[in-house]
Subunit: 323 residues, 2 copies
C-alpha cells in the first residue's frame, strides 16, 4: 500500500466532481492520473496526438490508452495537426500545440460533462513560470494558480506545491513507468533554458533550493495584489455614479494615487494599461494641471470634471452620426 | 565638453547640499565622483582602506587621493582592520568590510557636516539585489531605493537607473581611469555568481536584457506595497484607542484580512513577523474560533476581546512584580 502524492489543499473541494485530465503520458500527468485515482476521483483522461514525432507520438497515445484501461479510466485520444495550425497562425509549434491542447481539453471536459479540468504543473514548473514572467517584464511576481476559472471551467493544478524530484521518486516507488519523451516533446526553448541552465545556476549561486522560495514569493505577491484590490474596493474612491471622486485623493501618497487611478481605469474597461498612461491621468489631477483630458488606449479618454474623473469615448458620438 | 551621466531624478533635490561620497577607486564610484563634480555638487570623498590586499590597497588609496586633488575635492582615507573585525564578529571579510565601510562613511558625513551620503550602486547591482532577495526568500521583489533614510542621514544612489556598460563607456569617453581591482576587491561570492553566471544565463534564455526589467519590476512592486500600506491607513480598521476593530474585517476577502492583521501587528511593534504568526492571529478572528489569544514573537500576544484585537505582553505584569 503506497501513500498518495499530496494534492494542493485548494483543489480538494473540486475533486469531488468528475475531472477532465490532460494526459501526455509524461511523468507529471501520469503521476497526477495515479494520484487522482488513488484519491477516488472520477477521471476522464484526454490525450492529444500532435501530428508530429510520428511513431513516438503513436506510442505515447498507445501508452496512455493502456495505462488508463488498467485503472478503469476512460481515455480519449484527439488528433491535432499542429504543423498546419502553427503555419496558419504564424506561430511556433510549441505555442500552437499548447493552445490546441488546451482547446481540445476544454472541449473534452464539456463533452464528458466535467466542469473541472486538472493540469499536471508542479512546483518546478511554477518556479520557471515566475522567473519567465519576471524576466519578461511582468510588473510583479506572477505564477500559476492552484485553482482558476476560464472558459466556464475550473482549472486545477493539484501538484503545484510538489517538487519534480518528489514526483519522480513517487512514481519509481510505485514502479509506474512514463514516456520520457512525451514530457519534453514540445517544451518551449525558453522554458527549457530556464529549467536546464538558469535555475541550476541560481541554486548553485545561493547554495539552496530556490523553487520553493520562488513559488512562495509569487503566492505572497499575488495575495498583496488581491489585498490592494480589496482595500481599494472598500475605500470611498467613487461617487454614487461610479465616477472617481477626486477629493479622496488629496493628500494621499503618490503610490496610492497611482493605484487608485489604475484600479479605476481598469474597472472602467480601459484595456492594455501602461504605467505611462496611468501617470498621464495622474497628471490631470495635480493642482494647477493645464490639461483636463488625456487619451487612453481603445479610443477612450479620461477627463477631470467637477472634482470627478470620468472615462468616455475620445470623440463623443453626436446623435445619429455613427452607430 | 562632455555630457554628464544622467543622475536619478529623485536624488536631484538632495544634491544641492554637500554630499559625502563613498569612493573605492573602482569604476562606479569614480564615475559618480566625476558626475557629481560636473553637476557642481560639493563633494566630501571618503575612502576606506580595508587593511587587506597590501600594496594594491595602498595604491587604491593613493589613486583616490590624487583623483580628488585634481578636482579640488577633499578626500579622507580611513584605515580599517577588516580581518580583525571579521574575526571578532565571526563574519566573512565581505560582510565585515561592508558594515565597517558604511559605518565610517556615516561618521565621515557627520564630521564634514553632510546630511546626505551618495553611493555608486547602478542598475546592474540593482538587478543582482532583486534576484538575491528573491531567491533568498523575501516575500516580494525588493531592491535598493534611489533615496532612503537611515542613521539620521539621507542615502542617495544617483546611478541606480544607469547600466554598468553605460558607466564604462562614459568613463572611457572621458579618458578617466579607475582601479579595476578596487571594484571587485570585496564583492561577495554570491553576488559575483549572480553577476557572472546567473544574469548572463537569464539574458541568454530570454534573448533580451533583463536588468532593466528586474529594476522596473522591483520599483512597481515597491509601489504596490506602499499603496497597500497607505490604503490600509485610510481604512477604518482601528478604533479610537488604536485597537483593531474586528467588524471591519467581516465579509472581507482573506487576502485583505491577512494584510490588515499584518499591518496592525507591525504597527503594534511586533517584530520578526512570519506568515505563520499572521495566520495564527487570523484564526482567532474566525467565527467560532476556540482560542481567543495566541503568542507572538518578542514576548507579546494577540487577544480578541469585545470585537477588538489587542496586542499585550504575554504575562501581564502585576503591580510591583517585575520592573
Amino acid at each position: 500500500m503506497h501513500a498518495s502524492l499530496p494534492l494542493h489543499a485548494a483543489c480538494a473541494p473540486w475533486l469531488k466532481q468528475p475531472v477532465a485530465l490532460g494526459l501526455s503520458g509524461g511523468r507529471d500527468s501520469v503521476a497526477l492520473l495515479r494520484a487522482l485515482c488513488m484519491g477516488g476521483v472520477r477521471v476522464f483522461a484526454c490525450h492529444v496526438h500532435h501530428g508530429i514525432r510520428g511513431e513516438e507520438a503513436d506510442a505515447d497515445a498507445a501508452f496512455c490508452a493502456e495505462l488508463c484501461a488498467g485503472f478503469g479510466v476512460p481515455c480519449a485520444v484527439y488528433r491535432a495537426d499542429v504543423p498546419a495550425l502553427a503555419a496558419a497562425a504564424g506561430e511556433s509549434l510549441e505555442t500552437a500545440a499548447r493552445r490546441e491542447r488546451r482547446r481540445l481539453l476544454a472541449e473534452h471536459a464539456r463533452r464528458c460533462g466535467c466542469g473541472v479540468v486538472a493540469l499536471a504543473h508542479h512546483a518546478d514548473d511554477q518556479a520557471e513560470t515566475v522567473l519567465f514572467h519576471l524576466a519578461r517584464g511582468s510588473a510583479g511576481l506572477r505564477g500559476m494558480l492552484p485553482v482558476s476559472e476560464a472558459e466556464g471551467l475550473v482549472w486545477l493544478r493539484p501538484l503545484l506545491d510538489t517538487r519534480r524530484a518528489q514526483i519522480t521518486a513517487w512514481l519509481q516507488e510505485l514502479g509506474q513507468a512514463w514516456r520520457e519523451d512525451a514530457s519534453n516533446a514540445l517544451a518551449d526553448v525558453t522554458r527549457n533554458a530556464l529549467r536546464l541552465r538558469v535555475l541550476p545556476e541560481l541554486e548553485a549561486a545561493l547554495g539552496r533550493e530556490v523553487a520553493p522560495v520562488l513559488c512562495r514569493s509569487a503566492r505572497l505577491q499575488g495575495e498583496v495584489a488581491l489585498a490592494l484590490h480589496a482595500a481599494l474596493e472598500a475605500l470611498p474612491t467613487r461617487d454614487p455614479q461610479g465616477r472617481l471622486y477626486l477629493p479622496f485623493l488629496e493628500g494621499k501618497p503618490q503610490a496610492l494615487r497611482k493605484a487608485v487611478v489604475h484600479d479605476f481605469l481598469q474597472r472602467a474597461g480601459v484595456g492594455d494599461l501602461s504605467e505611462r498612461a496611468v501617470l498621464g491621468v495622474c497628471e490631470l489631477l495635480e493642482p494647477g494641471a493645464r490639461r483636463s483630458c488625456c487619451n487612453l488606449p481603445g479610443g477612450l479618454r479620461a477627463c477631470r470634471r467637477h472634482k470627478r474623473l470620468v472615462v468616455e469615448p475620445q470623440r463623443p458620438l453626436a446623435g445619429g452620426e455613427e452607430d
